[in-house]
């Protein structure tokens, strides 16, 4: 782990008394509201995974889509892998960080697009919280991916209906979105399953 690459860790190590005599010990800092956050290994891991997810979102945004809202959701591959490897909490962190940071990156923070992404991510995470308890022997990443994809589109359409277009007409779009969710759910799930197998925990190259 090359923690020193992260600026936030750099500043914390500088403030440590044994490394810099000029500064007072951290405990006796004059301003009590000043707090140093010590990101641990897991925080770095979450950040790294969110960055990978963000990269995939960036790539995905460059792919033209036939219909607004029909997107492969490549970033969810990362969420699926993290879910399997590190559990739901870390997956939720990665997914939500990706949504917020992605919206800042693309300049749509707090716009309808951002809330749609957030609604999709939240409902996927809610379904994944249940789906992760499916028997591991019979259900793998592909199942998680399909269920999450359906939840994603259900959450988004739900928000569209209650907030943006309160008209029954959007029901006509459900089959298109559901079919897209199924196709991309399978594809993303297969990619995630393949990566999970390739970088299995017993593989020393992927040790964290």
């Amino acid at each position: 782990m090359q923690d020193s690459r992260f600026a936030i860790r750099d500043s914390t190590t500088q403030l440590h008394p044994e490394q810099s005599d000029a500064l007072p010990p951290a405990s006796s800092l004059p301003n009590p509201s000043f707090r140093i956050l010590h990101p641990d290994a897991q925080d770095h891991h979450v950040a790294r995974m969110a960055a990978v997810a963000l990269g995939l979102t960036l790539i995905e945004n460059a792919i033209p889509s036939p219909l607004p809202g029909v997107k492969p959701g490549l970033a969810n591959i990362v969420t699926l892998i993290v879910l399997q490897r590190f559990g739901w909490r870390v997956a939720a962190w990665v997914s939500l960080l990706r949504v917020v940071a992605g919206s800042l990156l693309f300049g749509n923070f707090l716009t309808p697009g951002f809330f749609l992404g957030l609604a999709g991510a939240l409902s996927s995470l809610a379904v994944l919280a249940i789906a992760q308890h499916l028997p591991k022997r019979a259900f793998g990443a592909v199942s998680h991916s399909i269920l999450a994809a359906f939840a994603h589109i259900a959450g988004q359409l739900g928000l569209v209906y209650v907030w943006l277009i309160p008209h029954d007409g959007i029901a006509y779009l459900i089959p298109i979105f559901a079919a897209a969710a199924l196709v991309f759910g399978i594809v993303n799930g297969l990619i995630a399953a393949r990566l999970l197998l390739r970088f299995a925990p017993d593989n020393p190259a992927t040790k964290n």
Binding site: Y172, P175, L182, G189
Partner: protein
């Protein structure tokens, strides 16, 4: 296939059936029961689709012929220059409509209850 487990395949099959079912359910409109024929903006005649017949409707340019056959309706002949409404072919679901704008004749199919009041462009 080492990436797909038994449950995954079952889920894919169930989801695919679900999507197909949903599409049929949502995209198949209600059955049409009557055809409303308009000319010059006024209702010229409202006919049941149960009976096969041919109706001549006088319009702005001339006479449009509307055919009703096997619970479907179409405009089979019209004096409008581009023939859009003729080429539209058979209408069979409630809510479908064929408009011959130059001749100001239209055929609209309705079911038991109308889905919307008007169409706007």
């Amino acid at each position: 296939m080492q990436h797909l487990k038994v449950g995954d395949i079952l889920l894919i099959i169930c989801a695919a059936i679900g999507v197909v079912f949903l599409s049929l359910k949502i995209w198949t409109g209600a059955a049409a029961e009557r055809a409303i024929i308009r000319s010059g903006g006024k209702i010229f005649q409202e006919v049941s689709l149960a009976k096969d017949q041919q109706i001549s409707v006088p319009g702005h340019l001339g006479i449009s012929i509307i055919r009703i056959e096997a619970h479907r309706a179409r405009i089979s002949s019209d004096p409008s220059p581009r023939q859009y409404c003729v080429r539209q072919g058979w209408l069979q679901q409630a809510g479908e409509i064929a408009l011959c704008l130059p001749n100001q004749v239209s055929v609209e199919l309705v079911g038991r209850d109308k889905k919307y009041d008007s169409l706007n462009y």
